[in-house]
Amino acid sequence: QQQVKQSPQSLIVQKGGIPIINCAYENTAFDYFPWYQQFPGKGPALLIAIRPDVSEKKEGRFTISFNKSAKQFSLHIMDSQPGDSATYFCAASDSGTYKYIFGTGTRLKVLA
């Protein structure tokens, strides 16, 4: 019940495409859902985060879609660029704990 399932494991898109990464959770106590971007050899960097009271949030080219009833959330990258090639992690936490549950990561490659 504490797992966050992330898919796909890897993804290749052409420049300008819209890669979509999906995450699903079971614990209905989760109320905070961040996404992180990680380049090789670097620490993860926060991209965008959402709470269950909204269904969508946009920051620049990054959009989170959230479906509370399905317990799923997704990251969309608009007009993807080769510089977006990285590993993306979703996570979930509840405000009653101090811990994140991370997904297993998606390795994205954007072809020039």
Binding site: P34, K42, G43, A45, Y98, Y100, G103
Partner: protein
């Protein structure tokens, strides 16, 4: 500044040797601090977290330990390293009581 410092950046140690990794943070006092390990090409495994000086919670029983001797200092230690301790060690913090975790640059540990 809300910078997170980790050192060393890279470490190669023989099996059975001791370990000490240090994380220091700047900025807001009383942050929550976290140690994660990331195996090559894998996700993030929470090892320890701390909500205050001397307060350590362990997530995974193993030969590692953590200490928080000062508000903005978090140390990861081992008395005897195993081959399986190799990985990328990441320190993370929250700002005060906030939920968002921010990651440091990481320490790459290779145990031979």
């Amino acid at each position: 500044s809300q910078t997170i410092h980790q050192w060393p950046a890279t470490l190669v140690q023989p099996v059975g040797s001791p370990l000490s990794l240090e994380c220091t943070v700047e900025g807001t006092s009383n942050p929550n601090l976290y140690w994660y390990r990331q195996a090559a090409g894998r996700g993030l495994q929470l090892l320890f977290y701390s909500v205050g000086i001397g307060q350590i919670s362990s997530e995974v029983p193993q030969n590692l330990s953590a200490s928080r001797p000062q508000d903005r200092q978090f140390i990861l230690s081992s008395k005897k390293l195993l081959l399986s301790d190799s990985g990328f060690y990441l320190c993370a913090r929250t700002w005060g009581s906030g939920e968002t975790q921010y990651f440091g640059p990481g320490t790459r540990l290779l145990v031979l």
